[in-house]
């Protein structure tokens, strides 16, 4: 699990945090994934959370045309140049 995804989960109230951690643990195991496939909403929740972490990887983002670092740098430069808050 990435550090960012871990902090995302850590910010959740404990019931959601515990539930999501359980779903993620299931999704990573073949038998668990087969079990999740019977509950579409739970499967989607697990898949969405894992995907959030996976596609946050800067290398994957750049391969898809998205560079978070460049967006942030441009924002900071604009704020400083124009004296924005």
């Amino acid at each position: 699990m990435t550090r960012a995804l871990d902090s995302f989960l850590a910010a959740a109230p404990w019931p959601q945090r515990a539930g999501l951690r359980l779903l993620l643990a299931l999704a990573r195991r073949p038998r668990g994934a087969a079990l999740l496939a019977r509950a579409p909403l739970a499967e989607q929740a697990a898949w969405s959370t894992l995907a959030l972490g996976r596609y946050d990887d800067p290398a994957i983002g750049r391969a898809l045309g998205w560079d978070a670092g460049a967006v942030v740098d441009r924002g900071r430069a604009l704020r400083r140049a124009e004296g924005r808050p």
């Binding site: 960012a4 910010a11 579409p40 989607q44 898809l64 998205w66 924002g75 604009l78």
Partner: protein, 497 residues
């Protein structure tokens, strides 16, 4: 150890309602203390990376959810600016037919003419302007093409932004500070006028003695207690937390409506695989709307974001998800929002809100119709494939509540305004029934679903409340003041090349 402050007004919450009330009161010469539970978020700390920013800028790490059929994720902002810090910036005035309903059903003396100066004042303060096609980006162009081919009513949205360059991450913290959220507009005005903003303040309750407000008690991050002595308190904790604060303050609720009547504008989105490159994260994510079916309670609005966001909300799993994400540059997305007739309830359980909300049959029917229309819109725009938020292979008309993958962004109504103390928590002037000196200024007073994004309505009502508390008339546009006043009838500046 207890610290104490004295003020004419104590405002609890620095979001859409609280920040506006605080600034207007302070500029009106009142002594104001604002207590905000969250912190001030420095834009230098924004990373444009969704998991990190969801964890930091949203209450409960963006994992507040309703219980019911179906469960619905309900993201809420937390910190100076509240949800205005993390919303898409869309600005609609309250629709006239909604105001007429409020007069008819809730006895509220609110009409277009009366609220106009409030809206104009807010729009000037927030630099509200229509998004340009250039800034809207290719994702909006897809929806526009579909709507034009179908002859459906549509347009570019009005937003509170200045100098936007289409960073594509409005909901993860604007890195350019282009979005004019209340944390960078009204709160600095309040501070400049002498208001004191206390962050990290966990408010225990409104102190009431002899049937009137005496102040607010809170705890600070270092464990010290803070007592704010004030004869007037404005509660603006948001629709989910305001009824809980009123309850733990021991205020009577003769109406039995506190925490009830929760409307949320349940929403979902669909994706489409296009032939052209869309690059949905380039441009304003929510820049375009299709209101052809607004009278039926169905509104389409733009939605988009960077790959991590898209991967999170793409309604696919397994190999289909991986294949679709490999084509991310050619994915388009659009959102569907329902003006709900379902009503939920917020209660405190072990000090935390428990939100119950079940989608009623009428709203399920709106989603079925809306998803079918959304599919039509994308195919009319030339989509190769459309990914609906339904189980694989399910047609929209067969969707059941448990099949819908929903989120909601506009909680309203849990301290609804009604002129009658037997029917509402607050009166037409947003004062809590049955106690003197306690007022509410957030979405909880909005007595019905609006069918449009509510931030402007909340801010206009907060403006009206502030001037009512000052005993003054809201100035007309010609004599409106404010350091950041901007014309509102211009288009937002295009993205520089």
């Amino acid at each position: 150890m207890t610290d104490s402050l004295e003020a004419d007004f104590c405002v609890v919450g620095a979001g859409a309602g609280g920040a506006v009330v605080a600034a207007e009161l302070a500029e009106g010469g009142a002594r104001v203390v604002v207590l905000e539970q969250g912190s001030h978020h420095d834009p230098d700390s924004f990373t444009a990376r969704p998991p990190e920013m969801l964890g930091r800028l949203y209450r409960d790490g963006c994992q507040t959810a309703t219980l019911g059929a179906p469960p619905i994720l309900l993201p809420l902002g937390r910190g100076v600016g509240g949800t205005t810090l993390v919303n898409s910036g869309t600005c609609f005035r309250t629709p006239p037919h909604v105001l007429e309903r409020w007069q008819r059903e809730f006895g509220l003396e609110l009409d277009e003419a009366g609220l106009r100066p409030c809206f104009e004042r807010v729009e000037r303060a927030l630099s509200v302007a229509e998004v340009t096609p250039e800034l809207a980006g290719a994702n909006a162009a897809v929806a526009r093409r579909g709507a034009e081919r179908l002859g459906w009513s549509h347009g570019y949205l009005r937003r509170n932004a200045r100098g936007c360059v289409g960073s594509g991450v409005c909901v993860f913290g604007c890195p350019t500070s282009a979005k004019q959220h209340t944390g960078i507009t009204y709160i600095p005005r309040a501070t400049a006028a002498g208001a004191r903003i206390v962050t990290g303040a966990d408010v225990h309750g409104v102190v009431v003695e002899g049937g009137r407000a005496r102040g607010v008690s809170a705890r600070l991050p270092d464990g010290r207690r803070l007592e704010v002595r004030a004869p007037e308190v404005v509660v603006a904790c948001g629709t989910i937390h305001t009824p809980l604060l009123l309850e733990r303050s021991g205020l009577r609720d003769a109406s039995g409506q506190r925490g009830r009547n929760l409307a949320i504008h349940p929403a979902t989105s669909a994706f489409a695989l296009m032939d052209e490159v869309v690059d949905m994260a380039r441009g304003v994510p929510q820049s375009f709307y299709v209101d052809e079916f607004a009278a039926d309670g169905i509104m389409f609005e733009g939605a988009a974001g960077p790959p991590a966001y898209a991967a999170m909300v793409l309604p696919l799993t397994g190999a289909r998800h991986t294949r679709a994400m490999a084509d991310y540059p050619r994915l388009a997305q659009f959102g569907l929002m329902v003006s709900d007739e379902s009503r939920g309830r917020v209660r405190a359980v072990a000090g935390r809100p428990l939100i119950r909300y079940d989608l009623c049959a009428e709203d399920v029917a709106k989603f079925r119709a809306g998803l079918a229309r959304m599919q039509e819109l994308f195919f009319a725009a030339g989509a190769r494939e459309v990914y609906l938020p339904l189980p694989s292979g399910m047609r929209p008309e067969h969707a059941r509540p448990r099949d819908l993958k929903l989120m909601a962004f506009h909680p309203l109504g849990t301290a609804r305004a009604d002129a009658r103390p037997t029917h509402g928590v607050t009166d037409g002037e947003l004062a809590v029934h049955g106690v003197a000196g306690v007022h509410v200024a957030d979405g909880s007073v909005v007595p019905s679903a609006l069918g449009v994004n509510p931030q402007l309505t909340i801010m206009a009502l907060a403006t009206r409340l502030a001037f009512h508390l000052l005993g003054r008339v809201v100035p007309q546009t010609s004599d409106a003041t404010g350091p950041d006043s901007q014309p509102t009838d211009e288009e937002e500046a295009p993205c520089p090349s």
